[in-house]
C-alpha cells in the first residue's frame, strides 16, 4: 500500500504542475543529449586515434643535393632506432606516381609537377606514434635531411576540431543542466507548497522523513528519467539521420560511430539524469520542508 501511495503521489504531482514538468523534462533532455554527444565524441576521438595511429608515418624528406653517403647514414640511423617498427624508401619517381593518384582530380596541377620537384623520402612507422619527439631528436642532426613531417600533426588538427566541438557541447550541457536544476528545484518547491497541509500532518503524526520526502524526490527522478530517455532517442536519431545519411561521406574519413557506443549512452544518461534530479530535489527539500 505504501508503494502504491507513493507512486500515486508521484503521478499526481507531475500532472498537477504539468507545464513546469514539461519544461523540466525538455531542459533535462537537451542537457543530457549534449552530454551524450560530448561523451560519444570523446570515445570517437579515442577510436580514431587507435585506428589512424596504426597507419600513421613519419616522413623524412631528403634534400635535393643529398649524397649517397648521407642517404646510407640516415638509413642506418633509422634501422638502429628501437622506436621504429618498419620503414620504407620512396624515390622521386614513386613520389610522383603517388602524387598523380592523390591529385587525379586536378590534371592541370599534376601536369605542372615533374619528377625533380618532389623530394625523395624515408617513410617510417613508429611502434608508438607518441614517441615522435624522441625519434625526431635521434635523427634531426643528420646532414641531407630537408624536413621531417609527423603525420600525427595533420591528424591533430582534426582532433582539435573534435575536441573543441566536444568542449562546446559540454558547456551547453552544463548550462542546460544548471537551468534544469533550477527548474527541478522550483517544481519541488511548488509541489511541497501545494502539499503543505499533508506534510504538516505527516510531520505531526510522526511519518518518517523518507516517507515525506520520497514522493517529491521520486517525482524529480521520474522527470529526470523521461528526460534521459528523450535525450537518448535524440542521440540515436541524430546518429541515424546525420552520420548514417547526410554526412556519410564524412564518416568514411572519421570512422563510423558504433551503435553499441550509442546504446551505452542510455544507462549513462539515465543514471546522470536520475541522480542529478534526486540530489537537487533532496537538497531543495532540506531547505524548504525542514523535515
Amino acid at each position: 500500500m505504501r508503494v502504491k501511495y507513493v507512486l500515486n503521489e508521484v503521478l499526481v504531482g507531475l500532472w498537477r504542475n504539468v507545464t513546469m514538468t514539461v519544461a523540466m523534462i525538455i531542459t533535462m533532455s537537451v542537457s543530457l543529449t549534449m552530454l551524450g554527444a560530448s561523451v560519444l565524441m570523446y570515445m570517437q576521438v579515442d577510436r580514431m586515434k587507435n585506428f589512424y595511429y596504426g597507419e600513421i608515418e613519419v616522413s623524412i624528406f631528403l634534400a635535393d643535393n643529398v649524397t649517397d653517403g648521407q642517404r646510407q647514414a640516415i638509413k642506418a640511423k633509422i634501422d638502429e632506432s628501437p622506436l621504429v617498427k618498419e620503414s620504407s624508401y620512396e624515390t622521386k619517381e614513386q613520389a610522383l606516381e603517388r602524387f598523380k593518384v592523390l591529385y587525379a582530380d586536378s590534371p592541370d596541377f599534376v601536369a605542372a609537377v615533374n619528377v625533380s620537384s618532389l623530394p625523395e623520402s624515408y617513410r617510417v612507422k613508429l611502434t608508438n606514434p607518441e614517441d615522435y619527439d624522441k625519434f625526431a631528436k635521434q635523427i634531426e642532426g643528420e646532414p641531407g635531411i630537408q624536413r621531417i613531417i609527423d603525420q600525427r600533426e595533420l591528424l591533430q588538427k582534426v582532433f582539435n576540431i573534435f575536441n573543441s566541438v566536444q568542449l562546446m557541447s559540454l558547456v551547453v550541457a552544463a548550462v542546460m543542466a544548471f537551468a534544469a536544476l533550477l527548474l527541478v528545484g522550483n517544481t519541488i518547491q511548488v509541489a511541497a507548497y501545494s502539499k503543505r497541509r499533508e506534510v504538516a500532518v505527516m510531520k505531526l503524526v510522526g511519518a518518517s522523513n523518507w516517507f515525506i520526502q520520497a514522493p517529491f524526490v521520486l517525482e524529480a527522478v521520474v522527470a529526470g528519467l523521461i528526460g534521459a530517455l528523450l535525450g537518448f532517442v535524440a542521440l540515436f536519431i541524430g546518429k541515424i539521420v546525420l552520420l548514417d545519411n547526410k554526412l556519410q561521406a564524412l564518416t568514411a574519413i572519421l570512422t563510423p560511430v558504433p551503435t553499441g557506443n550509442v546504446w551505452l549512452m542510455l544507462p549513462l544518461l539515465a543514471g546522470v539524469g536520475a541522480l542529478v534530479s534526486a540530489g537537487t530535489a533532496w537538497v531543495t527539500l532540506r531547505f524548504y520542508l525542514k523535515v
Partner: protein, 226 residues
C-alpha cells in the same frame, strides 16, 4: 512522564526568554492545564515537548526520553507516542473524516486493514459514528475537532497535547470536547492542555499550572483559573 528541568527557551531576536528557568513534572495519567495570557510562553511548552523547537538551556524528558538530546532522525518515531490537537483542527480538506484519521495511520506504515479495523472504532469513541464519510466542510467546528481528537488518539499515544483545542468553539461545544478529552484521560493517557478558557478550567478542577512572562507563578492540584 514529562519532566522539564530548568528549561529556558529564548527565540532568536527576542528580547526576553519565552520560558525562563521552568521546572515542572507531570505524572503518567495526569490531566494538566497550562494557563496564562497570550505570549506567556505556554505554547512554547507544547513545541518543546514535540521537539518543534529546541530548548536554549535545560532538559526536557518525555516518555523517559531526553528530548533535548534526541537526534533529528529519531524525532518522527518519537512523535508517534504523542497525539496532538490544535485550535485550527488541521484536517485535510479533501479527505473525509475516515480518511483523515486513516491518513495518520497509513503515513506511519500501518496497513489499510489495520485502518479499517481501528478507525471506525475511534470515530465511534469520539461520537462521530455515522459521519465517517463527511468532508470537514460538511462538519461543524465541534465535529471537526472530534475528528482531530480521533486522529490524535487513533495511535493510542501515551500523551495527548492540546493547544487551545476549544479556542474556535462555542461554550457548549467546548464542554463536549472537554468531556471527550476527559474520557481519553481516563484510559490512562496523560493529557496536557494549553488554554485560556476560564470556564473550562473552573469546571474541570484539574491540576492548573499558570505561566506569566515565561515563569511558573502557580502550580495547583484541582485548581481554578483564578
Amino acid at each position: 512522564m514529562i519532566q522539564l528541568e530548568n528549561v529556558t527557551k529564548t527565540y532568536p531576536k527576542a528580547s526576553r526568554p519565552s520560558l525562563d528557568n521552568v521546572s515542572v513534572g507531570i505524572e503518567k495519567g495526569e490531566f494538566v492545564f497550562f494557563i496564562g495570557p497570550s505570549g506567556s510562553g505556554k505554547s512554547t511548552i507544547i513545541k518543546l515537548l514535540l521537539k518543534e523547537v529546541q530548548a536554549t538551556r535545560g532538559k526536557v524528558v518525555v516518555n523517559a526520553k531526553d528530548v533535548t538530546s534526541l537526534r533529528s532522525w529519531k524525532i518522527p518515531h518519537f512523535r508517534r507516542s504523542i497525539g496532538c490537537v490544535f485550535q485550527d483542527f488541521r484536517l485535510l480538506p479533501n479527505r473525509t473524516a475516515y480518511e483523515n484519521v486513516a491518513f495518520a495511520l497509513e503515513v506511519i506504515g500501518k496497513t489499510k486493514a489495520v485502518a479499517r479495523r481501528v478507525v471506525p472504532e475511534v470515530l465511534e469513541l469520539v461520537g462521530l459514528g455515522g459521519k465517517e464519510h463527511r468532508y470537514p466542510h460538511e462538519l461543524s467546528g465541534g465535529e471537526q475537532q472530534r475528528v482531530a481528537v480521533a486522529r490524535a488518539f487513533v495511535n493510542r499515544p501515551l500523551i495527548l497535547l492540546a493547544d487551545e483545542p476549544t479556542g474556535n468553539l462555542d461554550p457548549d461545544t467546548s464542554i463536549e470536547i472537554m468531556r471527550l478529552l476527559d474520557r481519553i484521560n481516563r484510559t490512562g493517557t496523560t493529557v496536557v492542555m494549553v488554554t485560556h478558557d476560564s470556564n473550562i478550567v473552573n469546571q474541570m478542577r484539574r491540576r492548573v499550572i499558570e505561566i506569566e512572562s515565561g515563569r511558573i507563578v502557580r502550580d495547583q492540584a484541582r485548581g481554578v483559573y483564578g
